[in-house]
């Protein structure tokens, strides 16, 4: 397994090459270097998977945890040390496959999508950097290494979202994403510090005695780490950065904001799952409730967005929340008894990466064709973009949970796990699944059916009401449709992978069996939602739509504005921190500190010396502050401490 180091080295190399000498390269060469290196990485990842899972189970009936590389990078006070290494176990191998597959698709797709863009080489350099850091994150042997790559992922995502650095919106979005996730990461870091301090190691595998000694602090530490995960995985109320991050190039959204980076939080919880189950089950259930609320919230908001990428963004938030819920409802590490959610979550992570990546890439093709993100500029596109249409439909069916597409199987397991936890949770999540089907088919119908925006404009042009001839939408080039087709195939058949054979909460083999009651109920709900969405939106605005729009105006408006959460945050930061603290202090500094003492000084000056008005006299005031500060400190130390 020693070759697995190349999975990390190749993207890094490609980043260095493209980053250092990319600007002198022709576009084609830069794209080829990035894509070829990623293809090799993908092949290597699949080889690792085949060897790893082909190697069979050990004596305890679980797949062994391999650590082909482990290097003590920094010995730190006593037993605590920071290591760097590669860890292979079922979930990290699965993540290698997900990341390399989606990343390769995005690399190929971008050859067409980004063609001719300024900074094409820079784009590929950043893609490589991102892939490198994401891969490094999943194979981390310890929490500290994970944190390092976690931040590196944040940096590269900042660079990618801000790729269109001439657009102020993109820049604001990238900054927002960076700062919000950094804010969450600060809790993560504190969690790591507590974890390291009490267990005397940063490693994921801690011996029992250490854990027992630290058991009183573990829930706090794990809870703080989850906050970091919630930031990256856009859990309520830290989700605010994700919809804005859609300002980045669409393939980037597919890679970062659908398949890889945003599931890092889920991966973190899954990675720490044994600790959560053993020492902090309550925290795990809190995660479930946070996830359930986020899922509902995002699904409702997704129903009314008009920008197709934003619909997908909220859909992503909702689906990731599903995965979090699945992890959160686990009550034991036995998959037959309360531990089903772990497997379900990882399964959904896998299938979701594929179909959501497909949806984003499809959306990219559409945006490429009509040069707009708004649904009002689409409609009736099925005639013009047949391949995109079919693949998009497959992805919609998959996310809606219609068999035999992959989403059905994974979502069904999640729902089953929820029903095992409590009926309320199960019903709640089933309803959200139904909403999911509704908004996805609303989107699908608005894009591909209904009145064609192009035809309307063409008619207007022919009737001489419009000056310029409208742009005819066209199917995307082959490099863009190829990834769509590949992902569509995977999305169609991935459900039949016997996922439980590879990954389960305690590592033992678990064969997935559908629970007929849950399956039938969820299929019925999904079909019903699809039917409603189709009736409402197939022919443009139907009577029902208008009726609903007029009667639920306030709610729809609130949902469209994402229930004003962003404004709330803005209020907290802008109004309270800047205006409430920073500005008064600046004002205080200028007017009170400087001003009052300036006045005293300037009065003295006026009396004594008119010749040197430039002398501000501030020094006196400085020294007064200086001395009174010292005296105050003395008083505090003597009387209060």
């Amino acid at each position: 397994m020693q070759f697995c180091i190349f999975i990390l080295i190749l993207p890094l190399l490609s980043f260095l090459i493209l980053g250092l000498c990319g600007s002198k390269m022709p576009h084609k060469l830069a794209g080829t270097i990035g894509t070829v290196s990623l293809s090799v990485v993908t092949i290597l990842a699949y080889t690792v998977a085949v060897i790893y899972f082909g190697g069979g189970r050990g004596d305890e009936g679980t797949f062994p945890t391999l650590i082909p590389y482990d290097y003590t990078w920094l010995p730190f006070a006593g037993t605590l040390s920071i290591d760097m290494g590669i860890l292979l176990d079922p979930i990290s191998v699965m993540m290698l496959i997900v990341i390399s597959t989606v990343s390769l698709m995005v690399h190929i797709y971008s050859l067409g999508y980004m063609k001719g863009e300024r900074g094409f080489q820079r784009y590929y350099a950043f893609l490589s950097l991102f892939t490198f850091s994401m891969l490094g994150l999943v194979v981390a042997t310890n929490i500290f290494q994970m944190y390092l790559f976690w931040e590196l992922v944040g940096v590269s995502s900042y660079l990618l979202i801000g790729f269109y650095y001439t657009s102020p919106k993109a820049i604001a979005a990238s900054k927002k994403a960076f700062i919000v996730t950094r804010f969450a990461d600060l809790f993560f870091l504190i969690g790591i510090l507590i974890y390291g301090y009490y267990t005397k190691t940063f490693s994921f595998s801690v011996n029992e005695t250490m854990l027992m000694a630290a058991s009183s602090m573990l829930p706090l530490s794990l809870g703080l780490m989850f906050v970091g995960g919630a930031g990256k995985s856009a859990m309520f109320p830290l989700h605010i950065w994700l919809p804005d991050a859609m300002e980045g190039p669409t393939p980037v959204s597919a890679l970062i904001h659908a398949a890889t980076m945003v599931v890092a939080g889920v991966y973190l919880v899954a990675r720490l799952f044994p600790l959560f189950i053993g020492y902090a089950p309550d925290v795990l259930h809190i995660i479930a409730y946070v996830g359930a609320f986020t899922a509902l919230y995002a699904a409702v908001v997704a129903c009314v967005q008009t920008d197709i990428k934003r619909v997908l963004a909220f859909s992503t938030i909702s689906q990731i929340a599903f995965m979090m819920v699945a992890l959160g409802v686990c009550t034991s590490s036995n998959p037959h008894d309360g531990g089903l959610g772990y497997m379900a979550s990882m399964f959904h992570l896998f299938t979701h990466a594929m179909f959501k990546g497909l949806l984003f890439l499809g959306a990219g093709a559409i945006i490429h064709a009509v040069h707009s993100n708004e649904k009002s500029n689409m409609g009736g596109l099925r005639k013009y973009m047949p391949i995109t249409h079919i693949t998009f439909l497959i992805a919609c069916l998959a996310i809606a949970g219609i068999p035999p597409f992959s989403g059905f199987f994974s979502k069904d397991e999640i729902l089953a796990a929820c029903y095992n936890f409590s009926t309320t949770m199960g019903v709640f999540m089933s309803i959200i699944a139904a909403i999911t089907a509704f908004y996805m088919f609303r989107l699908y119908n608005l894009i591909f059916w209904g009145k064609s925006h192009y035809e309307e404009e063409l008619a207007a042009y022919n009737a001489r009401e419009r000056e310029e001839k409208p742009h005819k939408p066209h199917e995307a080039p082959f490099v863009m449709t190829l990834p769509l087709i590949i992902l569509a195939v995977i999305s169609s058949i991935a459900g039949f992978i016997p996922f439980g054979e590879f990954i389960s909460s305690n590592g033992e083999s678990y064969s997935i069996h559908l629970q007929p009651a849950v399956a039938i109920a969820s299929i019925t709900l999904a079909v019903a939602s699809i039917a409603i969405a189709t009736i409402m939106y197939r022919k443009g605005d139907s009577k029902i739509t208008i009726y609903i729009n007029t009667h639920l105006k306030g709610f729809i408006k609130a949902a469209y504005n994402r229930f004003y959460i962003d404004e709330l945050w803005l209020f907290i930061t802008k109004k309270i921190i800047f205006n409430g603290i920073s500005r008064p202090i600046a004002w205080f500094d200028r007017n009170v500190i400087d001003g009052s003492l300036d006045k005293i000084a300037s009065m003295t000056q006026k009396l004594s010396n008119h010749v040197r008005p430039m002398q501000s006299g501030n020094i006196q005031s400085y020294n007064i502050w200086f001395l009174s500060g010292a005296l105050l400190l003395i008083l505090i130390l003597i009387y209060l401490a």
Partner: protein, 472 residues
């Protein structure tokens, strides 16, 4: 008294040698020899740094007044290295018509402050400590006012010298109390007597003020912004890293050696000042438009972060502190190097608006600046993240959870204002961005060193491990 003891102070004697050589060269050299003056100074300093590092044996001289060990030697070498970087960046400025004829003075003044700092760090006696601090302060005032024909610089010089005198007076007051209480000025004899009664606390705080001034902790920071803004940029750079680094190290030594029985008291003191410094400086920095003023507040908050290592007061804290100083030197000097280059190009003070669109004309400098700011904000994998992590870890181990949490929240705020600069350079459009800057060789060398430091210091764990071996 055995006068041969003087020769045992290798770092000081060697620096004095460099000092004398430069002084003589300045007197005798004329014409074309002056052209290589700068190069000679740099070479001498490199040789001196080497001597400094290798002169690491532990020794106590003059009946315990002077103490040197490998760690102190290393920090001395570190500060010399920082000074070297500053001097490298000063080349173009020194060739200007106002400064050309007093080039020698610049080196001599700077090196005499450096000798003062050496004595500060090696002192184990309050008299020597006070002489060291004064030797480090007075020539700095001349340096701040070096562009004396520029109104700002003269004003900054006056402000600096007045504040400095004020703080020295208070510190001397504190020292006299210490002498009165203990009857000795030797560090080693004091701890048993200083137990934390109100009068002890009084003298602790009064003494502390002097170093608090040099480190520019809130509320002793008020001079910082004015002096930083007015002083020539290279001097500002020197003030913000070298002078601060020496003072922090000295503070660590005095607190752990002299006040070792008053740990809870000075920990509380540092606790308050750290929170105040980081928070207040961050909030002020957001509003600053002049880059040098901005960097002044940034440096106040960075000083607060270093205090997290001092507050731990153990070997780990010392390692974290020295590593922090090292990283801070490269990152901050990278920023000041870029500012200096811009100033030399535009001949004006640099404001945030000045560097709008800087990336379009000077991509490399803009990139370096970005990395340096990322490092200052503590973003992995740059060196600044690791230095911050180590100080947090040491404070955390000492039990200061809340303090670490406050500091961490402040790192997010600081990210916001550092990104403002990044945004200005990369995004904000500007019809007349700063023209393409052609750096001279010396500046380029110093910037390359800074760049390597920012990228490598964190990743190469060997640096930290070796510092850790030296810590006591």
């Amino acid at each position: 008294m055995n006068y041969l003891q003087f020769l045992s102070m290798t770092p000081e004697i060697s620096l004095l040698g460099v000092f004398v050589m430069i002084f003589l060269f300045d007197l005798v050299a004329t014409g074309r020899y002056r052209r290589i003056f700068h190069g000679i100074v740099c070479l001498l300093l490199i040789a001196h740094t080497y001597i400094c590092i290798t002169s690491g044996e532990e020794q106590t001289l003059f009946g315990g007044m002077y103490y040197n060990n490998p760690m102190i030697s290393f920090v001395k070498a570190l500060l010399t290295f920082g000074t070297l970087l500053v001097i490298l960046q000063a080349h173009r400025w020194l060739r200007g018509s106002y400064t050309y004829y007093k080039q020698g003075e610049f080196y001599v003044l700077m090196l005499s402050t450096l000798i003062g700092m050496y004595f500060m760090m090696s002192a184990r006696h309050f008299l020597l400590l006070f002489i060291g601090i004064e030797l480090a302060s007075l020539p700095l005032a001349c340096l701040v006012a070096f562009d004396k024909y520029r109104h700002n610089s003269a004003e900054a010089g006056i402000k600096y010298i007045l504040s400095s005198m004020f703080s020295s007076a208070i510190m001397l007051f504190g020292i006299s109390y210490l002498y009165g209480i203990t009857g000795t000025l030797y560090f080693d004899d004091m701890p048993t007597i200083l137990t934390g009664t109100p009068i002890h606390i009084f003298s602790l705080v009064m003494f502390f003020v002097g170093l608090g001034f040099k480190i520019s902790l809130v509320p002793f920071h008020l001079w910082t912004a004015d002096s930083y803004q007015g002083a020539p940029t290279v001097v500002t750079a020197y003030l913000s890293v070298i002078s601060k680094g020496a003072a922090v190290f000295t503070l660590f030594v005095v607190l752990t050696k002299v006040f070792s029985n008053m740990v809870p008291q000075w920990q509380t003191l540092l606790y308050i000042l750290t929170v105040a410094s980081i928070t207040i400086a961050n909030l002020f920095a957001i509003k600053q438009h002049n880059i040098k003023r901005f960097m002044a507040f940034s440096s106040i908050s960075q000083a607060g972060y270093i205090m997290l290592a001092v507050i731990a007061g153990n070997a780990k804290g010392m390692t974290a502190m020295v590593f922090y100083i090292l990283v801070y030197i490269v990152a901050n000097l990278a920023v000041f190097g870029v500012i200096e280059s811009i100033e030399q190009q535009t001949r004006h003070g640099v404001r945030r608006e000045t560097i709008n669109g800087f990336y379009s004309t000077n991509p490399r400098l803009a990139l370096l600046m970005t990395l340096a700011l990322f490092s200052l904000a503590g973003i992995p994998p740059f060196a600044g993240f690791f230095s911050k992590f180590f100080v947090f870890m040491s404070a955390f181990d000492a039990g200061f959870w809340v303090l670490v949490f406050i500091a961490l929240i402040n790192t997010v705020i600081s990210l916001y204002y550092y990104l403002l600069i990044v945004k200005a350079m990369f995004i904000t459009p500007n019809e007349h961005p700063v023209q393409k800057i052609k750096c001279d060789l010396y500046t380029r060398l110093s910037l390359v060193i800074c760049f390597a430091g920012i990228v490598l210091l964190g990743i190469c764990s060997i640096v930290y491990i070796n510092i850790d071996k030296l810590a006591f």
